[in-house]
Symmetry: C2
Subunit: 225 residues, 2 copies
DNA sequence: TAAAAATAATAGTAATACTATCATTTTTGG
DNA sequence: CCAAAAATGATAGTATTACTATTATTTTTA
């Protein structure tokens, strides 16, 4: 028997639950492929519909607009990542080890998980790197926040922040450090591949270097006397 | 006599130099106001033209599209900031003091500088916080990079990275640390005001707290034995 | 098997992101 | 000062985007 991983999503994100039908799953699958390929700005519901073989109106029955779809995808990713963190740090007592594993998870290449056939986690990871911050860098961030659209991201930051606090209860900035780790795991990766002179990883271009940087950054800060 | 500060801009960013005419200066001034007010997504050349009292075609004579205009504005800001850094750290020998001043400059509210009447630096600072990363988070980042559109940002990171290396020549990640400081100065500010639970500054909401966090982050990393 | 729900097909609108043309005004070099 | 050049204004037009609406058809389900 196959375990089916289901991420519980905020119902206000969609008009009709895409997990509940074949068409819905196709919308998720193909939107990931298209955004990965052309970027979020060039992505339209018309192109998506053509790609799937349905009509524009068909997509609009599931998502109000493409920003909601982006919020759906990033939320899914953060939820999935929190699950992975829970799995990977389970039964490990030492918070330092847990934190190191979290950093590794955040900054490593993601492998596609066969349990969720309509979501290609590897592509989704790339999307979150390039487009993820556009989910909240909008003029309607306050409104979206009232809809609790950023809860998965906040929950993840909370989990990471708590581990940091466990490592050193006297460290004063566990939340800001958590967001710094998460954002920098992605930004350093983006810069390494696209604007390498902004990083110190230009030659090898390997995630292990980002991981080493983040470990150094975090542990020297929270371990300071 | 009044000193006129001029930032040298990459000429590929515009079709006609906006500094060279009244209309051009109006385009800069009003685009800053409009993007500040409505966000970059809602900003169009039509609305800008109406705001100024010219026509859409008039704006298109200066900028190819609104992304180029955003690149122009952010480039201007990074150039201006590098000048401020040069000014503020001039004649100071101790690199630690210089670095502390840089962090303060990066994370503090900006006051409008009367020397550049068509640029409201305070509003532009807000724009760079909310929209700045959209300048490079695009599918055409490689192409834009070939046009050297990110040079001002890279130069700034270079300057900050060099100060970090002066503080500790053995520190392994001066560039990545520089981008981390710059990005986090803005992101922590954005989160503090819009998604405060992601930070540790929710109650007071003051830049001094972001500055304290960044100082702690940077100096514990680079001063480690 | 009839009702309900979902989808497909088609059409239409307002706004966006441009390009083109030509007349008028402003600038500037001789 | 005047003519040529440059910049601006006014207007028009196109393809695409971001939707909404309607109706017919297919699929699901009670």
């Amino acid at each position: 028997m196959k375990l089916q991983l289901q991420i519980r999503m905020n119902e206000d994100l969609f008009l009709r639950n895409p997990e509940g039908s074949e068409l819905g799953k196709k919308i998720i699958k193909h939107s990931i492929q298209l955004i990965y390929k052309n970027g979020f700005e060039a992505f339209t519901f018309k192109k998506l519909a053509e790609d799937i073989g349905t009509t524009e109106a068909g997509v609009y029955r599931y998502f109000e607009n493409k920003h909601r779809l982006l919020l759906y995808l990033t939320s899914w990713y953060w939820g999935w990542l929190e699950f992975q963190i829970g799995f990977c740090t389970n039964n490990i007592k030492d918070p330092n080890t847990r934190l190191r594993r979290v950093i590794k998870l955040l900054a490593s290449k993601v492998e596609d998980d066969e349990d969720t056939s309509h979501v290609n986690e590897s592509l989704l990871h790339s999307i979150v790197i390039s487009e993820g911050s556009k989910a909240y860098l909008t003029n309607h961030v306050a409104e979206d926040n009232q809809h609790h659209f950023f809860k998965p991201y906040k929950d993840l930051c909370g989990v990471v922040g708590n581990i940091i606090s466990e490592c050193n209860p006297r460290y004063k900035y566990p939340r800001s450090m958590a967001t710094t780790i998460i954002e920098m795991a992605h930004f350093q990766n983006f810069f390494m591949h696209n604007l390498p002179s902004l990083t110190d990883f230009g030659k090898k271009k390997e995630e292990t270097e980002v991981i080493a940087f983040l470990n150094d950054l975090v542990f020297s800060s929270i371990k300071r006397v």
